[in-house]
Amino acid sequence: MATRRSGEQMISLSIDGRAVQVLPGATIWEAARLLGIGLPVLCHDPRLEPVGVCRLCLVEVGEPKLTAACVRGAEDGMEVRTSSERLEACRRGLVELLLSDYPVDASDRPKTGSDALVELAAELGVDWPARRWSGETGEAPGSRTEPAGGIPAGDGRALDGTSKVIFVDHQACILCDRCIRGCDDLQVNEVMGRTGKGYQTSIAFDLDVPMGESTCVSCGECEKVCPTGALSLVGWEGPPNDAAGSGDVGWEVL
């Protein structure tokens, strides 16, 4: 958040009926955090520039459209609501869609952070493995290695085990861009980007080569910031199931 310079006017707004003052430039998400209100986020991490792609942080600001709190600046006199039936329904819907083709085994992989997507599903009461999209035939979802139910093997996107430290499951990726920003903007290794169009869009290393053959320097930043099982640790157990790391997105740690 911007640091205060003398003479700068504070912005006053209310969130869920509670008043808060922030510096110009602060987002609604930042303002909410000041009040201890943890909005669910997937594509946002305070260390990264917000991009507002996952829409999980939606809030009502008295406009017809819902707005993403992680990118929307706080405005004077704004009245923000962070929960309502409409918001809940939207969030559940978003999570359900994100999980509709999420591989079941991806959430068990060892991670530095946690699988925030799956946690959020539990949080919002989305019974995702059961409601996973099962293709036109209605059969069980495709296995990781064999095509099934009209869905190609690996659900159509690749697994990449070429890196010695990080395992990539493109199918579990929700394209939140956190890894890309971690690699390019924080570590400035500039290895990662996006490639492809439509459903085939994926994160990519260099000019879309396997991670282990790319110029990746194995700093682990991408895995650390990834909120799903798409990037996970190779050869480490990571946290045991009952102990997450530091990446508990949307949860406050005490």
Partner: protein, 769 residues
């Protein structure tokens, strides 16, 4: 409120509480958590942890510590499985140093500590294994047993027998005393380690000075920044960095000189790259290799190896000629400018172009960019310091900063990037032959008196010998007994063949380490010590930030902490050293080191403090020398330098120039990183980098095996083409004993800093069958 009613209350409001290890996670999607409820949760923390998830408390606990590798000193949280006494994984944590970032070593390189080869029992060399010499066939050069060159335990261990701590310590102390009493204190010497904590470094030098009775105590700083420190002391009166690396974000220009920053100070490099990317900071990189940093640079000057003095003299020539100097700063804050001016007069960019191999136009442009900057910072590494003219190289950089008024303000300054996690601290703690803690001269009678009083013994007024001089002394028989704490000169010192002879020549050698090192093969007694993770202590990073490394694991078997071992040896040599904890040692040290005054474990907290720290409620001093330098006159001094070529230039017989250094994934002699699963997997062995055209001329394919030979030795390893290299140059990392680069390097020293010329010697490369 009971825990049950609290949980009910939370549930009613839709606030979710879960347990993660020893932490509570709260989810409050509706913003229903009132301050009262928060307070109640806090008050019931323990009960909640016990009740939640119906379960047993997890055995995974987090420990807030720092990285054991480089001088960046990243703050790390280790997740420790207590039941198995093992680190499960690591994560960066928030700190002004790294803002949660880590590099591959910090994130994945901790598992060496749990390697089965850890030493657990004191070892004494068997009678039958004298006279001393290298024990493994590989080191004797008889036969290459197998690749993957760590010390072969099966071959070396049988030459030692297990002993009790009593026996081993008694033997060590008795023999050291025997030598001291027979040949005088000057026959003893100690190598401390920049991997050990400030407390251990302090005790180590105290032992050598007070119990051995000599100033022959040194460590690997001699091999990395001794020349930089010598130049800094002579010109601005202090060897420390004048600002922190994070300050680069406020600089207009950053100059990186002789530093492969992304490989050796990876997280510091991220901040420099970020500053460049933000558009705020222009980046100038000067290096003989087109390193990754060069890909980010606005100006990249790929100079011929060893021509730094010429280049920077010509920059200064341009700055003076074009009036891009800070006259007021020169008048108010410096002395000796006229002498410098006279020297750089003859170094026009045109002259420099011929020597450095860089176009004169580019030299001018880069110099102007530097000169026009309102704020400029200079970073440098071993490419500056590890030369026989390393002190001269550093002098030039310092003059450059002085002449443009770039010391003492935010976004300006000198930052020699420190290698080891505690090389700054071990130097601060006095593991240097000429100075007591905090750079107080051993030759100054008043200072000596202060330390004599503090330590209760008479001290030797004569400055001691440096690392390479001590090795020379061992070879000549002047040095007879040595105590080596965590150093492995066998791989790290130049001209290994000579080191081998020197080590064999020692009458008595105590090695204290966590693994059997190449050096331990020459030991009479080996003492199993603890790794970074098994003890607490403070470490001072490149920024001068003093941070607490906290114990995460229990030591294996009978291993003991370094500081305890040092104290035991002292006691047995008739010099009792008694401390209850590292914290006690720290307070004794800070009382004697004015720069550390006021620091305590308590106020260092989770993110440490920069020294000097006049007000411990603040973070410490970021920018030094705002109005005066700690020199006699208070002014910074220009010390001009003339170009002198490297000691061993390429010729017909040895036509290539060898440069040595590190790879991102490995650390020094590899004892740690080669035992780390991930680091080893990423980079399992040595390769030499050469220009593609040179390899082609030799008829060697990518990955083909070559023999690289110098006048001192030869090694065999694969070579790979790299267009980042200049023609006629070879780069070989020094981590790998099966192709030990230091068999080739030359043990010529910088006359002032006494640092060896690791970055330049002549070699021959030929295809090996």
């Amino acid at each position: 409120m009971t825990t049950t009613t609290l949980l009910g209350e939370l549930k009613k409001r839709g606030v979710k509480v879960r347990r993660r290890g020893e932490r509570l996670l709260l989810s409050d999607l509706h913003g229903a958590l009132t301050p009262e409820l928060r307070a109640a949760i806090d008050a019931h923390r323990e009960e909640l942890l016990a009740t939640l998830d119906g379960g047993e408390r997890s055995t995974v606990r987090s420990v807030d510590s720092v990285c054991p590798y480089c001088g960046v000193g990243c703050a790390i949280r280790y997740f420790v499985d207590e039941a198995e006494n093992r680190i499960r994984y690591a994560d960066g944590r928030e700190s002004p140093v790294n803002h949660e970032r880590l590099c591959v070593k910090g994130r994945f390189g901790f598992d060496y500590t749990s390697h089965p080869q850890r030493l657990q029992t004191p070892l004494i060399r068997k009678e039958s294994s004298y006279p001393k010499g290298p024990l493994s066939t590989e080191v004797r050069g008889e036969r290459r047993r197998r690749s993957g060159g760590l010390v072969d335990y099966e071959e070396v261990l049988p030459h030692f027998r297990e002993a009790t701590w009593e026996e081993a310590l008694d033997l060590a102390a008795t023999r050291l005393v025997e030598i001291r009493d027979r040949d005088g204190s000057g026959a003893l010497a100690g190598f401390g380690s920049a991997k050990c904590s400030n407390e251990e470094a302090y005790l180590f030098q105290k032992l050598v000075r007070a119990a051995f009775g000599t100033n022959n105590v040194d460590h690997c700083t001699r091999l990395c920044h001794a020349s930089s420190v010598a130049a800094l002391l002579e010109t601005i009166g202090s060897g420390a960095v004048t600002t922190v690396f994070g300050d680069v974000q406020t600089a207009d220009v950053a100059l990186i000189a002789g530093s492969n920053t992304t490989g050796n100070h990876p997280v510091a490099a991220t901040f420099i790259k970020q500053a460049r990317k933000s558009g705020r900071t222009k980046l100038i990189v000067v290096e003989p290799r087109r390193i990754e940093m060069a890909d980010h640079a606005d100006y990249f000057l790929q100079i011929n190896p060893g021509t730094d003095v010429v280049l920077y003299n010509s920059w200064m020539h341009v700055l003076i000629e074009e009036g891009l100097i800070d006259e007021a700063y020169i008048a108010d804050r410096t002395e000796g400018f006229e002498e410098l001016k006279a020297v750089v007069e003859s170094y026009s960019p045109e002259v420099a172009a011929g020597i450095c191999g860089v176009e004169s136009g580019l030299i001018r442009e880069a110099a102007r960019t530097f000169g026009r900057a309102e704020r400029a910072m200079i970073f440098w590494g071993m490419g500056i310091s590890q030369h026989t003219h390393g002190t001269d190289n550093a002098r030039c950089l310092i003059s450059l900063a002085l002449m443009t008024g770039n010391i003492g303000r935010e976004g300006t300054g000198l930052h020699p990037l420190r290698g080891q996690n505690n090389v700054q601290g071990a130097s601060d703690a006095g593991v240097i032959p000429m100075v007591y803690p905090d750079y107080q001269s051993v030759a100054d009678p008043a200072v000596r008196e202060k330390f004599e009083q503090a330590w209760g013994v008479e001290l030797d007024p004569k400055p001691g010998l440096t690392v390479v001089e001590i090795m020379g002394g061992a070879l000549d028989g002047v040095i007879k007994g040595m105590y080596m704490m965590g150093e492995n000169p066998f791989l790290s010192d130049p001209n290994v063949n000579k080191v081998r002879k020197a080590l064999s020549n020692l009458e008595f050698l105590v090695v204290q380490d966590i693994f059997l090192t190449e050096t331990a093969e020459f030991a009479d007694v080996i003492l199993p010590a603890t790794s970074f993770f098994e003890k607490s202590g403070t470490y001072t990073n490149s920024d001068r930030r003093v941070q607490v490394g906290r114990k995460a694991l229990q030591p294996p078997g009978g291993a003991r902490t370094d500081w305890e071992i040092t104290c035991e040896i002292g006691a047995r040599m008739g010099y009792p050293m008694e401390y209850g904890s590292p914290e006690e040692v720290f307070s004794e040290f800070t009382a004697l080191a004015p720069s550390y005054a006021g620091l305590t474990y308590d106020n260092l907290g989770l993110t440490g403090k920069l020294w000097p720290c006049p007000d411990p409620s603040e973070d410490g001093t970021q920018v030094l020398f705002g109005d005066r330098f700690p020199t006699a006159s208070g002014r910074g001094k220009f010390v001009p330098a003339e170009f002198a070529p490297a000691k061993e230039l390429p010729d017909k017989e040895y036509p290539f120039v060898l440069n040595t250094g590190r790879r991102l994934e490995h650390w020094h002699t590899g004892t740690m990183t080669r035992r780390s699963r991930a680091l080893h997997a990423i980079r399992p062995g040595p390769v030499a980098d050469m220009h593609p055209a040179d390899l082609e001329a030799l008829g060697v394919e990518d990955g083909g095996i070559v023999e690289v030979a110098s006048r001192r030795g030869s090694i065999v390893l694969p070579a790979v083409p790299s267009d980042r290299m200049l023609r006629g140059a070879v780069f070989i990392p020094f981590h790998f004993r099966e192709a030990a680069a230091n068999l080739l390097t030359i043990d010529e020293l910088d006359p002032v800093g006494k640092i060896p010329e690791y970055k330049f010697c002549a070699v021959r490369v030929s295809p090996a069958s």
